[in-house]
């Protein structure tokens, strides 16, 4: 489980899966809760009913960039 980002900010988690277009954003906070309860990512994703591997990798590889965005806040937008 080490190295898998699971406590990322959920507010910039992609709303749809990049490949298939299924809506997945509403699962991310539930996924984080399950991981905190001690489930492995596989168990958590199976429990949430995310079947396709395109959608599953969205959860496994999410990295929030909101902290990086903050540095540019006010400078360009």
């Amino acid at each position: 489980m080490s190295g898998i980002p699971f406590d990322e900010n959920s507010s910039d988690f992609p709303i749809r899966c990049f490949s298939c277009g299924a809506v997945i954003a509403h699962f991310y906070e539930k996924y984080k809760d399950l991981i905190k309860k001690g489930r492995t990512p596989k168990q958590a994703l199976d429990e949430l009913g995310i079947k396709r591997y395109c959608c599953r990798r969205m959860f496994l590889t999410h990295k929030s960039i909101i902290k990086e965005l903050i540095r540019f806040h006010g400078a360009v937008g």
Partner: protein, 263 residues
């Protein structure tokens, strides 16, 4: 003829029997790109000092599906308002929140209580202390051909159902059983096919068979899998796509008749 294998409101798996690829594919394409749904298309920002750019927020809002009633709203270009925007062709969602707070899709207040987001717990963005977001988002009808956000389906595909025949000269060597990645073959006194719908038509069993005793052929049956985003029930998507196809066929007929008369 249709034989449903698995079904709920958002998902269906069915066999389309005795059809042909041209129809199966045009139906699939119609479901993907010609069935209208309602989606946020225009956003007015009054205040936004969050860490997200206006465009990012508008983009995220547009990806959240909205429960659509096809009889209730018109296309803007076909509406009596001539595309200006009126209550019978668009719905306005309003939002005015201050941080610290995570803004969910359910926080947006719709003008029409019957039209709302399918998922109320989609995190749109997080507002931190002292940040405010005041927006007016306009939803309208559109089709997937115009923009992918209007697609009523996420996954929509078919595959041809194969037919596996084992010939007389099979010597039960078992090479095909080991080679099959979907594990649909079994030897039980003779070579048996377990679940033909799992077959991916890879034809590895044909390649590995030394006696050429196994044959994989395509049939006229199609296995469809459709998953709705929630904007419309999956049955409505299927029906509406067929209606669109009938309209198109009628139009084509008319063109052909005109060509026939003038020539």
């Amino acid at each position: 003829m249709i034989e449903v294998i698995e079904e709920n409101e958002r998902y269906i798996k069915f066999l389309l029997k005795n059809s042909f690829p041209a129809f199966a594919n045009s139906w699939r394409r119609a479901m993907k790109s010609l069935v209208p749904t309602m989606v946020i298309d225009y956003v007015d920002f009054y205040v936004n000092n969050s860490f997200f750019y206006d465009e990012v927020i508008a983009h995220r809002l547009a990806l959240i599906p909205i429960k659509t009633d096809l009889n209730r709203y018109n296309f803007q270009e076909k509406c009596s308002c001539k595309g200006v925007g009126c209550p019978s062709c668009q719905v306005i969602f309003r939002l005015n929140v201050e941080g610290p707070k995570v803004v969910y899709s359910g926080d947006l207040v719709s003008e029409d209580p019957e039209v709302h987001f399918v998922y109320k717990d989609v995190p749109v963005l997080e507002l931190f202390k002292g940040q405010q977001l005041m927006i007016e988002a306009v939803a309208r009808l559109g089709i997937g051909k115009e923009h992918a956000k209007f697609q009523p389906v996420s996954v929509c595909f078919y595959k041809i159902v194969p037919k596996i025949t084992v010939l007389e000269n099979c010597n039960l060597c078992g090479a095909c059983v080991n080679e099959c990645s979907k594990k649909i073959l079994r030897i039980d006194k003779k070579l048996e096919v377990l679940n033909i719908l799992d077959c991916s038509l890879c034809k590895e069993c044909v390649k590995v068979c030394e006696n050429k005793a196994i044959k994989v052929e395509e049939t006229n049956d199609f296995l469809f899998t459709i998953e709705s985003t929630g904007a419309l029930p999956v049955r409505t998507i299927m029906k509406k796509a067929l209606e669109v196809l009938i309209e198109k066929a009628k139009e084509m007929n008319k063109i052909l008749e005109e060509v026939h008369q003038t020539s």
